[in-house]
Protein backbone atom coordinates (compact mmCIF):
# COMPACT_ATOMS: atom_id res chain seq x y z
CA UNK A 1 0.00 0.00 0.00
CA UNK A 2 2.69 2.49 1.09
CA UNK A 3 5.07 1.46 -1.69
CA UNK A 4 2.23 1.85 -4.21
CA UNK A 5 1.62 5.44 -3.10
CA UNK A 6 5.38 6.08 -3.19
CA UNK A 7 5.69 4.84 -6.75
CA UNK A 8 2.52 6.56 -7.99
CA UNK A 9 3.18 9.99 -6.45
CA UNK A 10 6.97 10.33 -6.67
CA UNK A 11 6.92 13.93 -7.94
CA UNK A 12 4.33 15.14 -5.41
CA UNK A 13 6.12 13.48 -2.49
CA UNK A 14 9.44 14.96 -3.66
CA UNK A 15 7.84 18.43 -3.61
CA UNK A 16 6.65 17.98 -0.04
CA UNK A 17 10.01 16.56 1.09
CA UNK A 18 11.78 19.62 -0.40
CA UNK A 19 9.23 21.93 1.24
CA UNK A 20 9.68 20.16 4.59
CA UNK A 21 13.48 20.46 4.35
CA UNK A 22 13.16 24.22 3.61
CA UNK A 23 10.82 24.72 6.59
CA UNK A 24 13.15 22.77 8.91
CA UNK A 25 16.22 24.70 7.69
CA UNK A 26 14.40 28.00 8.25
CA UNK A 27 13.24 26.90 11.70
CA UNK A 28 16.84 26.04 12.61
CA UNK A 29 17.95 29.45 11.23
CA UNK A 30 20.48 27.83 8.88
CA UNK A 31 20.09 30.64 6.32
CA UNK A 32 20.89 33.28 8.93
CA UNK A 33 23.92 31.25 10.07
CA UNK A 34 25.30 30.88 6.52
CA UNK A 35 24.74 34.53 5.48
CA UNK A 36 27.79 36.11 7.27
CA UNK A 37 30.14 33.43 5.90
CA UNK A 38 29.20 34.45 2.33
CA UNK A 39 30.68 37.97 2.66
CA UNK A 40 34.32 36.86 2.06
CA UNK A 41 33.22 35.13 -1.16
CA UNK A 42 31.56 38.34 -2.40
CA UNK A 43 34.61 40.41 -1.41
CA UNK A 44 36.87 37.91 -3.20
CA UNK A 45 34.66 38.09 -6.31
CA UNK A 46 35.05 41.86 -6.47
CA UNK A 47 38.65 42.34 -5.34
CA UNK A 48 40.52 39.20 -6.43
CA UNK A 49 39.00 38.00 -9.70
CA UNK A 50 39.40 39.26 -13.29
CA UNK A 51 35.61 39.76 -13.41
CA UNK A 52 35.69 42.13 -10.45
CA UNK A 53 38.80 43.92 -11.77
CA UNK A 54 37.30 44.50 -15.24
CA UNK A 55 33.92 45.44 -13.75
CA UNK A 56 35.40 48.10 -11.49
CA UNK A 57 38.06 49.41 -13.91
CA UNK A 58 36.56 49.50 -17.42
CA UNK A 59 33.23 51.30 -17.42
CA UNK A 60 32.64 50.71 -21.13
CA UNK A 61 32.99 46.93 -20.78
CA UNK A 62 30.75 46.90 -17.69
CA UNK A 63 28.10 48.95 -19.54
CA UNK A 64 28.28 46.65 -22.58
CA UNK A 65 27.87 43.47 -20.53
CA UNK A 66 25.09 45.06 -18.48
CA UNK A 67 23.30 45.98 -21.72
CA UNK A 68 23.66 42.33 -22.81
CA UNK A 69 22.27 41.26 -19.43
CA UNK A 70 19.24 43.53 -19.90
CA UNK A 71 18.73 42.20 -23.43
CA UNK A 72 18.85 38.59 -22.23
CA UNK A 73 16.39 39.41 -19.43
CA UNK A 74 14.11 41.11 -21.96
CA UNK A 75 14.30 38.08 -24.24
CA UNK A 76 13.61 35.80 -21.26
CA UNK A 77 10.54 37.88 -20.38
CA UNK A 78 9.34 37.75 -24.00
CA UNK A 79 9.71 33.97 -24.16
CA UNK A 80 7.92 33.53 -20.83
CA UNK A 81 5.05 35.83 -21.89
CA UNK A 82 4.71 34.16 -25.31
CA UNK A 83 4.50 30.71 -23.70
CA UNK A 84 2.32 31.59 -20.73
CA UNK A 85 -0.11 33.90 -22.54
CA UNK A 86 -0.60 31.11 -25.12
CA UNK A 87 -1.23 28.65 -22.27
CA UNK A 88 -3.78 31.12 -20.87
CA UNK A 89 -5.37 31.36 -24.33
CA UNK A 90 -4.76 35.10 -24.60
CA UNK A 91 -2.62 35.15 -27.76
CA UNK A 92 -1.31 32.93 -30.62
CA UNK A 93 -4.55 30.94 -30.44
CA UNK A 94 -4.18 29.63 -33.98
CA UNK A 95 -0.87 27.91 -33.10
CA UNK A 96 -0.98 24.76 -30.93
CA UNK A 97 0.33 25.47 -27.42
CA UNK A 98 2.58 22.38 -27.64
CA UNK A 99 4.42 23.94 -30.60
CA UNK A 100 4.95 27.24 -28.77
CA UNK A 101 5.95 25.77 -25.39
CA UNK A 102 8.44 23.30 -26.93
CA UNK A 103 9.86 25.91 -29.31
CA UNK A 104 10.30 28.64 -26.72
CA UNK A 105 11.78 26.21 -24.16
CA UNK A 106 14.87 25.62 -26.34
CA UNK A 107 15.47 29.37 -26.64
CA UNK A 108 14.64 29.80 -22.94
CA UNK A 109 17.48 27.47 -21.90
CA UNK A 110 20.09 29.31 -23.98
CA UNK A 111 18.82 32.74 -22.90
CA UNK A 112 18.83 31.74 -19.22
CA UNK A 113 22.46 30.60 -19.48
CA UNK A 114 23.42 33.92 -21.14
CA UNK A 115 21.48 35.89 -18.49
CA UNK A 116 23.19 34.05 -15.62
CA UNK A 117 26.70 34.46 -17.12
CA UNK A 118 26.28 38.19 -17.81
CA UNK A 119 24.57 38.57 -14.41
CA UNK A 120 27.59 37.07 -12.61
CA UNK A 121 29.83 39.64 -14.34
CA UNK A 122 27.47 42.50 -13.42
CA UNK A 123 27.29 41.35 -9.78
CA UNK A 124 31.08 40.90 -9.56
CA UNK A 125 31.70 44.61 -10.13
CA UNK A 126 29.43 45.60 -7.23
CA UNK A 127 29.60 42.39 -5.18
CA UNK A 128 30.26 44.12 -1.83
CA UNK A 129 27.24 46.37 -2.46
CA UNK A 130 24.68 43.77 -3.59
CA UNK A 131 25.61 41.45 -0.69
CA UNK A 132 23.86 43.87 1.71
CA UNK A 133 20.77 44.35 -0.50
CA UNK A 134 17.75 42.22 0.51
CA UNK A 135 16.30 42.77 -2.97
CA UNK A 136 19.37 41.06 -4.52
CA UNK A 137 18.63 37.95 -2.48
CA UNK A 138 14.94 38.16 -3.44
CA UNK A 139 16.03 38.14 -7.09
CA UNK A 140 18.36 35.15 -6.57
CA UNK A 141 15.63 33.26 -4.71
CA UNK A 142 13.04 34.06 -7.40
CA UNK A 143 15.53 33.06 -10.13
CA UNK A 144 16.24 29.72 -8.43
CA UNK A 145 12.54 29.10 -7.82
CA UNK A 146 11.65 30.08 -11.40
CA UNK A 147 14.34 27.88 -12.97
CA UNK A 148 13.42 24.91 -10.75
CA UNK A 149 9.73 25.46 -11.55
CA UNK A 150 10.35 25.50 -15.31
CA UNK A 151 12.82 22.60 -15.53
CA UNK A 152 11.43 20.28 -12.84
CA UNK A 153 7.69 20.96 -12.85
CA UNK A 154 6.27 22.94 -15.77
CA UNK A 155 8.12 21.62 -18.83
CA UNK A 156 8.10 17.94 -17.77
CA UNK A 157 4.30 18.13 -17.43
CA UNK A 158 3.74 20.11 -20.64
CA UNK A 159 5.92 17.78 -22.72
CA UNK A 160 4.55 14.57 -21.18
CA UNK A 161 1.20 14.57 -22.98
CA UNK A 162 -0.99 16.67 -25.31
CA UNK A 163 -2.14 19.81 -23.49
CA UNK A 164 -5.76 18.94 -24.22
CA UNK A 165 -5.35 15.97 -21.85
CA UNK A 166 -4.17 18.18 -18.96
CA UNK A 167 -6.70 19.85 -16.67
CA UNK A 168 -6.97 23.42 -18.05
CA UNK A 169 -6.98 24.96 -14.56
CA UNK A 170 -3.61 23.37 -13.82
CA UNK A 171 -2.22 24.83 -17.04
CA UNK A 172 -3.64 28.27 -16.18
CA UNK A 173 -2.28 28.07 -12.63
CA UNK A 174 1.19 27.20 -13.89
CA UNK A 175 1.10 30.00 -16.46
CA UNK A 176 0.05 32.67 -13.92
CA UNK A 177 2.67 31.47 -11.41
CA UNK A 178 5.34 31.47 -14.12
CA UNK A 179 4.48 35.06 -15.14
CA UNK A 180 4.55 36.20 -11.48
CA UNK A 181 7.89 34.54 -10.66
CA UNK A 182 9.66 35.95 -13.75
CA UNK A 183 8.04 39.36 -13.14
CA UNK A 184 9.59 39.22 -9.65
CA UNK A 185 13.02 38.39 -11.14
CA UNK A 186 12.76 41.35 -13.55
CA UNK A 187 11.35 43.82 -11.00
CA UNK A 188 13.92 42.84 -8.35
CA UNK A 189 16.67 43.30 -10.93
CA UNK A 190 15.51 46.82 -11.71
CA UNK A 191 15.18 47.49 -7.96
CA UNK A 192 18.88 46.56 -7.58
CA UNK A 193 19.65 49.14 -10.27
CA UNK A 194 17.49 51.71 -8.47
CA UNK A 195 19.15 51.14 -5.07
Amino acid sequence: MFSTILSQYKATLSVFVVLLVIVVLEFLQVRAAIYPSLLPAFEWLKNSTPLGYIGTTYGSIYATVQAMHLLTMGTLGGLVLATDLRLLGVMFRTTPSEVISNGTHKAFKLTLIAAVLTGIFCAAGVADKVYYMPVFWVKMLALAAGAAFVFLIKQPLLSSKPHSEINPWIIRGMAITSILVWFTVAASGRWIGFS
Binding site: Q8, Y9, K10, A11, T12, S14, V15, F16, L19, V138, A142, A145, F149, I153, K154, P156, L157, S160, E165, I166, N167, I170, G173, M174, I176, T177, L180, V181, T184
Partner: protein
Amino acid sequence: MSDSKKIGDKELAAISVSVIIFGGLTFHWVAEMISTVELLELAYGTVKLFNNPLVF
Protein backbone atom coordinates in the same frame (compact mmCIF):
# COMPACT_ATOMS: atom_id res chain seq x y z
CA MET B 1 -14.10 15.46 -16.24
CA SER B 2 -13.04 12.66 -18.55
CA ASP B 3 -10.70 9.86 -17.44
CA SER B 4 -7.86 11.29 -19.50
CA LYS B 5 -8.03 14.55 -17.49
CA LYS B 6 -7.72 12.88 -14.10
CA ILE B 7 -5.15 14.57 -11.89
CA GLY B 8 -2.01 12.45 -11.86
CA ASP B 9 1.29 12.75 -10.03
CA LYS B 10 2.82 15.46 -12.25
CA GLU B 11 -0.39 17.50 -12.21
CA LEU B 12 -0.62 17.29 -8.41
CA ALA B 13 3.03 18.34 -8.05
CA ALA B 14 2.50 21.19 -10.53
CA ILE B 15 -0.55 22.61 -8.79
CA SER B 16 1.09 22.25 -5.33
CA VAL B 17 4.25 24.10 -6.40
CA SER B 18 2.21 26.72 -8.28
CA VAL B 19 0.11 27.48 -5.18
CA ILE B 20 3.19 27.63 -2.91
CA ILE B 21 5.19 29.93 -5.22
CA PHE B 22 2.18 32.11 -6.10
CA GLY B 23 1.27 32.47 -2.40
CA GLY B 24 4.84 33.26 -1.39
CA LEU B 25 5.34 35.90 -4.08
CA THR B 26 1.94 37.52 -3.48
CA PHE B 27 2.76 37.72 0.24
CA HIS B 28 6.15 39.25 -0.62
CA TRP B 29 4.72 41.99 -2.88
CA VAL B 30 1.85 42.84 -0.50
CA ALA B 31 4.36 43.09 2.38
CA GLU B 32 6.58 45.35 0.24
CA MET B 33 3.60 47.58 -0.55
CA ILE B 34 2.55 47.83 3.11
CA SER B 35 6.09 48.64 4.29
CA THR B 36 6.48 51.26 1.55
CA VAL B 37 3.22 52.96 2.54
CA GLU B 38 4.24 52.86 6.24
CA LEU B 39 7.63 54.38 5.37
CA LEU B 40 5.99 57.18 3.39
CA GLU B 41 3.52 57.85 6.21
CA LEU B 42 6.40 57.96 8.69
CA ALA B 43 8.28 60.41 6.50
CA TYR B 44 5.48 62.67 5.31
CA GLY B 45 2.60 62.03 7.73
CA THR B 46 0.25 61.03 4.96
CA VAL B 47 0.31 59.33 1.59
CA LYS B 48 -1.52 61.03 -1.22
CA LEU B 49 -1.63 58.99 -4.37
CA PHE B 50 -1.11 61.01 -7.54
CA ASN B 51 0.38 63.86 -5.48
CA ASN B 52 4.05 64.49 -4.96
CA PRO B 53 4.67 63.68 -1.26
CA LEU B 54 7.59 66.11 -1.24
CA VAL B 55 5.08 68.96 -1.67
CA PHE B 56 3.49 69.69 1.73
